[in-house]
């Protein structure tokens, strides 16, 4: 049987001499809900930026064996690697439905584009149901609550016919209830997607991660299940630390030096 997989080899991102991502190797299969953690400045978001074409990188990024590095952002998105952003970046002037419809439509022909929408596409209908936004479909995205915006953002990932979903802090600012729903949603989604979640929330991580990759100073420090990673002394040193509830507090200096 063939499962979709994302394979990153020797990925390096350098900004003006500063090595933000330093030779990262990473393999994620569909069915695995992978969490990417690390102290501030470890290069998590930069890694996601590099995978999606936003940050120039060297090395190799393959999706099912197809090289993606060097392609433009929209080409990578069309190839099936999509992402969310730390701050919800929905189109605030458009309605929920319009946001999702645009997200679902990257492969539409000009003929379709130049016409008004006559029916709601099925994927959009399904995404609205999954994310609980059906009742709000004609609400402008700018009027949604923070949590709802994040949900819409996730909905926009779902309607894109994508293989790899990269989520940058999806549950930041969500209530416990919303976080639980998001976690369940991610579990369902990972069945047939490669899902990588950048997260700071340790509770959420422990609850939902199938596997964890720890980045520090641009390098992969450890990889494995939550328990394995937690037991790793190097991880404890830079990150989890005994009793450290706030991951951004201590290790910033350690991560910044290169």
């Amino acid at each position: 049987m063939s499962r979709d997989y994302l394979e990153v080899r020797g990925l390096r991102v350098v900004f003006d001499g500063f090595v933000a991502v330093d030779g990262v190797d990473l393999t994620v299969l569909a069915g695995d809900l992978r969490f990417l953690i690390g102290p501030n400045g470890a290069g998590k978001t930069t890694l996601v930026d590099a995978l999606t074409g936003l940050a120039p990188a060297t090395g190799s990024v393959r999706l099912d064996g197809v090289e993606l590095l060097g392609r433009k952002e929209h080409q990578i998105a069309r190839a099936g690697v999509v992402r969310t952003f730390q701050t919800a970046s929905v189109f605030e002037g458009l309605t929920v439905l319009q946001n999702l419809d645009i997200a679902a439509g990257a492969s539409r022909s000009w003929r379709t584009l130049l016409r008004a929408r006559t029916a709601v596409p099925e994927v959009v209908e399904r995404a609205m149901a999954t994310t609980g936004l059906t009742a709000l479909r004609d609400r402008r995205a700018g009027e949604l609550s923070h949590g709802q915006k994040q949900w819409l953002e996730i909905g926009m990932l779902l309607v894109q016919d994508a293989t790899v979903l990269l989520l940058d802090e999806p549950v930041a600012g969500m209530s416990a209830d919303e976080r639980e729903q998001t976690g369940d949603l991610l579990r369902r989604v990972r069945e047939d997607h490669v899902v990588v979640v950048v997260e700071h929330d340790m509770e959420f991580l422990r609850e939902y991660a199938d596997s964890v990759t720890v980045l520090a100073a641009g390098k992969v420090l450890a990889e494995g299940s939550y328990a394995q990673v937690q037991a790793d002394p190097r991880v404890q040193e830079v990150y989890l630390g005994p009793g450290t509830a706030d991951p951004g507090a201590g290790p910033r200096a350690a991560a910044g030096g290169t």
């Binding site: 930026d49 120039p56 929209h74 709601v120 004609d138």
Partner: protein, 399 residues
């Protein structure tokens, strides 16, 4: 008369709101009837000619409404495209006045007209040229600029510079394109004598018809999925990229449409006004095109047209009486609208439900209120930070 057909289909129209096809068709028919029948009957020849002139400027405004209001591209240089259309038309009219093989009277040296005049000697070639030359130029310019992700104020400056350069080029070509005097004294328009009042009414009808057609095109673009995408590009160009679209392509379509509309406006301006000169195409007129759009409400369908007509009318009335005052008033109006009323003067009256917004029909949805078209862009160049801090300013990005 034409309205009765619309009222027969009332149930369908009522269900889908005013966007029902019959209602829309009725609105366009009414507008056409008022313009094409009402105006010639009510206005003196002089007034009608003035109105025709304003309609030409309104064509430019319709395009700017799409590119700037919906697409967020501050097209400060539409004089370039207006001028291209106008000069191609003027060259054709001069050649046809000169007769077969003749050359324009202002050319003092040389034997025949230059080759690039001869291109537009035939009426068909002239009409094609009026659309194709500015359209292709906008396509090339747009693609090269948008691909490099030049936007916001940089794009505005670039487009303004292109209009300034075009005007300078024209001024420098005294013997081939009339220099700063421009081209004038046209006698006929595709065989119709221009001093005949009947033909002037014909000219009015053509202009009004073209304008209505342009509004219809923009209407369709605004309500289509493309229109939604264009608004999305305006509000979050980077985000659109990560959904798998190339925003440069989306923007260039709106830019080309705006350029072609401006060119057609320029082309009709020539027989109506009787002269085209670098003064009509440079920086100042390019800014002038924007004022009406801003005043009328740049993101609305009819705002740019009504704004352009109102500003043109006010200008012609006031400048005759208080010449210098109008210039200042115009500047003040522009500043006030851009700074405080980005939705146009109409937005000062609050959220009155007005028809004519680019409203998107959603089948099966009982959308209660007016769908507020995104017309509250915060700044002149409609370019909110995409998402938080870091995205567009990465090293290696062309700015």
């Amino acid at each position: 008369m034409s309205a009765s057909a619309g009222s027969l289909r009332r149930p369908a129209a009522a269900r889908a709101g005013w966007t029902g096809r019959a209602a829309v068709a009725g609105a366009y028919a009414a507008a056409a009837a008022v313009l094409l029948l009402g105006a010639p009957a009510l206005l003196s020849d002089f007034r009608l000619r003035l109105l025709t002139q304003f309609l030409c400027l309104a064509m430019v405004a319709v395009g700017i409404g799409l590119a700037w209001g919906r697409g967020g591209m501050l097209t400060l240089g539409q004089g370039l495209f207006f001028g291209l259309g106008a000069y191609i038309m003027a060259m054709h009219l001069q050649l046809s006045d000169a007769g077969p093989g003749g050359r324009p009277s202002f050319m003092v040296t040389g034997s025949g007209a230059p080759w690039w005049w001869e291109l537009f000697r035939s009426p068909v070639a002239a009409v094609v040229g009026i659309v194709a030359v500015p359209g292709l130029l906008a396509l090339l310019l747009g693609l090269s600029v948008f691909r490099r992700r030049v936007k916001g104020a940089y794009f505005a400056i670039l487009s303004q510079a292109s209009a300034a350069a075009f005007a300078l080029l024209l001024v420098s070509q005294q013997n081939t394109i009339g220099g700063s005097n421009g081209l004038s004294s046209f006698r006929q328009f595709f065989g119709y004598a221009l001093n005949d009042p009947v033909n002037r009414r014909l000219l009015f009808s053509i202009t009004a018809g073209l304008l209505i057609a342009m509004v219809a095109v923009v209407h369709q673009l605004m309500r289509s999925r493309f229109g939604e995408l264009l608004t999305a590009v305006r509000d979050g160009e980077e985000r659109v990229r990560f959904l798998g679209y190339d925003p440069a392509v989306v923007k260039v379509v709106a830019y080309v449409v705006a350029a072609v509309f401006a060119a057609v406006g320029g082309a009709m301006f020539v027989p109506v006004v009787g002269i085209i000169s670098p003064n009509n195409v440079g920086v100042v007129p390019s800014i002038g095109f924007l004022i009406g759009v801003a005043v009328g409400g740049r993101a609305t369908l009819l705002g740019p047209v009504l704004g352009a007509l109102a500003v043109s009318y006010a200008g012609s009335e006031l400048s005759a009486r208080y010449e210098s005052v109008w210039i200042y008033l115009q500047g003040l109006l522009f500043i006030v609208v851009v700074a405080f009323l980005p939705g146009g003067l109409g937005s000062a009256f609050g959220a009155l439900p007005r028809p004519g917004r680019g409203r998107t029909p959603v089948v099966g949805s009982d959308e209660p209120g007016p769908a507020p078209a995104a017309q509250d862009g915060p700044s002149l160049v409609n370019e909110p930070e995409p998402f938080g801090e870091p995205v567009p300013v990465r090293t290696g990005e062309v700015r």
